[in-house]
Each structure stands twice: as C-alpha cells, then as structure tokens.
C-alpha cells in the first residue's frame, strides 16, 4: 500500500529534477519574481511591508495553479496513467505520492524561500514565524485540492482554464486564513486561531482529497 506512495513520490521528484535540471530552481524562480515586485508596485518599504504577506500568498497560489495540471497530464499522455489505473493496488496512495511530490517542488520551496522574500519585501519581524508556518500548511492544502481538479480535467485536453475555474473557489478559504495568520501576527494579535483552522483544513484535505482524486481519475479517464 504505502509503497505505492513512496514509489510515486520518488519518481515524480526525479522527473521534476530532470526537467528543471536543478533541484534549487523553484526557489530561485520565486526569488527572481520577488525582485520584480518592488519594481512594479512600489520600492517604499513601509508600503511593501503592508502587502508582503498577501503578495507571497498570491505567488503561492499562482505557482500552484499554473503547475498543478501537469500532475496527471504528462502521465496521461505517455500512457503511465493507464498503467497506474490498471494496477491492482489502491489508487489513492500513488495519487497522494504524486501530490506530495508536487508540493515538494512548489509549496515547499516557496515556504523555505519565504523568509528571504520577507526580507526583500520588508516584512516586519514578528511576521516571519507565522508566515512560514501558515505557508507550510496552506500550500499543502493548495496542492491537495488542486489534485482533485487536475484529476477531474485530465482527459479533457483543454485543461488550463477549466481547472482554474474548478479549484479557484476552493482555494479562497486557504488564502484568507493564510494571509490572516500573518496579518494578525503583524498587527499584534494572536495568530494561533487561523493557523489552527489551516491545520484542520490540511488534515481534512489529506484524508479526503486523494480519495476524491482517485475516484475522479477512474471516472474521467475512461474513454
């Protein structure tokens, strides 16, 4: 059972590594994009500080949204997904493995880079810990919820927009509680509340999303 999880986790990580050629690349990408933000918005640190948590969360969102459809699409095209579907084992485990790999190349690097991005965007000192904590939990939710949308649209060949239409509404609570965690910390309020909600959402997503995605794959890839 669990071996399906780790096999697919390792395989997808290897594939991501081969494609990008460099394990550190998503990190570098986020750092580069963040250098452009002060250019486009404002170089004043006071104003940057106000929007920093929001900007980092929007980046997490876009990075997930624009990469999540590849989670099953490549496998669908080259026939690997079909092999996965006709394996006798539980489908949810490999799906969870693939989702974990996706998180490790989008959400995790962003979480790790976020203190640096915080410095670049003049985030106040008390915001760092809640930002890292909320990103760690929240980006996990984003990948998991996204996997359901990706599974629903994998056989459609017009993925892109439909996928974003499907998952965007579901991402909303994550964004709200995520940036609220950081904002409350900056404003000097307790931030354990929104963080706990994020944690609960992550737990629920881990339990439900792989099952929903596996069911969706079985339904939609039949044609």
């Amino acid at each position: 059972m669990a071996s399906g999880f780790s096999a697919y986790l390792r395989r997808d990580l290897l594939l991501a590594y081969r494609r990008r050629g460099d394990a550190a690349s998503p990190l570098i990408f986020f750092i580069m994009v963040s250098t452009l933000i002060p250019l486009g918005i404002t170089p004043e640190s006071a104003r940057l500080a106000e929007i920093a948590p929001g900007i980092i969360w929007v980046m997490a969102l876009l990075a997930t949204l624009l990469s999540i459809d590849a989670i099953f699409a490549n496998d669908y095209q080259d026939g690997s997904l079909e092999q996965l579907l006709i394996s006798p084992h539980l489908l949810a485990m490999p799906v969870l493995g693939k989702t974990a790999a996706h998180w490790m190349v989008t959400g995790l690097p962003l979480t790790l880079a976020s203190p640096l991005l915080g410095v670049m965007l003049s985030l106040p000192a008390q915001g760092y810990v809640p930002m890292v904590a909320s990103l760690a939990l929240g980006t996990g939710c984003l990948s998991l919820i996204g996997s359901v949308g990706a599974a629903l649209t994998v056989s459609l060949r017009k993925g892109g927009l439909l996928l974003s239409l499907l998952v965007m509404p579901l991402y909303m609570p994550v964004i709200i509680f995520g940036s609220a965690t950081v904002q409350s910390a900056i404003d000097g309020f307790a931030w354990s509340g929104p963080l706990a909600i994020l944690g609960a959402m992550l737990a629920a997503s881990i339990a439900l999303c792989p099952l929903a995605a596996a069911g969706a794959l079985r339904i939609t890839s039949v044609n």
Partner: protein
C-alpha cells in the same frame, strides 16, 4: 462439461457516444496459447485490449477469468495481467534503467538483465530521449523480461523493432506460453509462431466509412 479456459470473452460490445465500435466478440484463450487480434486500422483492436485490461468498461458482454467474471475477481485479475499499449509509458527524461527500476518488482539486477535481454546493455544510463525509436520501444518491451504476470496484452509490440528484435520477441512469447502463460496481441505483421491462434475485430456497421 467444457474445459475451463483461462480467459473467455463472451459477446463483448463497446459503445462510444451510442455508437458500437465493433461487432460482438467471442473468443477464449487458454494457458499456453497466443491469440492474435486482427483487423484493419480503426477496427477496434486497441479498444478491445483496453477493455480486457479494465481500462474501459464494456457496454455489454462478459470477460471471464478462470471461471469468474473479472468484475468479481478484480484484484486477482489485475495482479495477473500485463498491458503494453501504443503509448509505452516510457518517460523520455529518465534513463532506460530508471524507467525500468520503478516498474520493477525485483531488484536492480533484474533491471540490468532485462535491458540486456532487449539488447540495450550499455544504454542503462542514457536518457531515453537520446535513444532511437526502436531503442525506446525496446525499453518498454524490457518489462516482459521482469514480470510474473500470466496474461499479457500487447498492442502492436513490434512497432519500430528491427527483424532481429522481432524474432527475439517471438522467442520471448514462446517461452512465456511454455511456462504456462497466455498472450493476446495485436499486430499487422505476420508472426512466425507455431500454433498461433487468430481472432478478428470487425468494425461495426454503425461506424462511418473506412
């Protein structure tokens, strides 16, 4: 009482958008047999093989494995089959050895043996996009040398393979059936295998011109 075949297909039909793909199909394959599915392009051979792997659901008819409909013994059935489709599930960005390793049930040794069985020894660490078309197909075929599956479903396995490779593969099939396995394959080429059985896939009258 008639003999119980390993795999029996009874009046199998498939519909896409309310159009039948092929005329109802009946056949039985037993241990030690190789069954070639014949038919012109677009007659539904790939569709039939995918039905047999449960990737598609038949609209009517039954697939019976060792006496039981496969819907009732899904786990055993899926554990016993191997499917190799048009799309070979070879990842271009991985090397030949890596591609096999994560499909392997044995260890790294079996990977190396399988690659040398398809005459790719020395290419273990070449990314697959640097291989020729036939070499890529051989990587996919290497799975045949590292599986315990009893029933093989092969969709045009000889695509892009040279003459020597074809006879190598024919040997491999012969040995598999000698060990008590069975094979259902589709191909447009003539095979040099004794006792090859054939069944044909006839496009349904519903289907448009061709």
């Amino acid at each position: 009482m008639p003999k119980l075949s390993l795999l029996t297909v009874e009046q199998l039909c498939f519909e896409r958008d309310d159009r039948h793909t092929f005329e109802p199909i009946d056949f039985a394959v037993d241990r030690g047999e190789i069954m070639q599915v014949e038919g012109p392009n677009g007659s539904g051979k790939t569709t039939l093989l995918r039905l047999l792997t449960t990737a598609l659901q038949p609209s009517s008819g039954a697939i019976i494995y060792a006496g039981q409909p496969i819907t009732l013994c899904r786990y055993e059935y899926l554990s016993d089959i191997l499917y190799l489709g048009h799309q070979s599930a070879v990842k271009m960005n991985l090397t030949a050895a890596e591609n096999l390793r994560w499909m392997a049930t044995g260890g790294i040794d079996s990977t190396r043996d399988a690659l040398s069985a398809v005459q790719l020894s020395g290419y273990d660490d070449v990314p697959c996009y640097n291989l020729s078309a036939g070499q890529q197909r051989r990587v996919a075929l290497a799975r045949l040398f590292m599986t315990n599956a009893k029933l093989w479903f092969l969709d045009e396995p000889f695509t892009a393979i040279d003459k020597q490779g074809v006879s190598l593969l024919e040997n491999c099939l012969r040995e598999h059936v000698k060990r008590g396995g069975a094979v259902v394959l589709s191909t447009h080429q003539d095979l040099a295998i004794d006792g090859l059985r054939k069944t044909s896939c006839v496009p349904h009258a519903d289907q448009g011109a061709l």
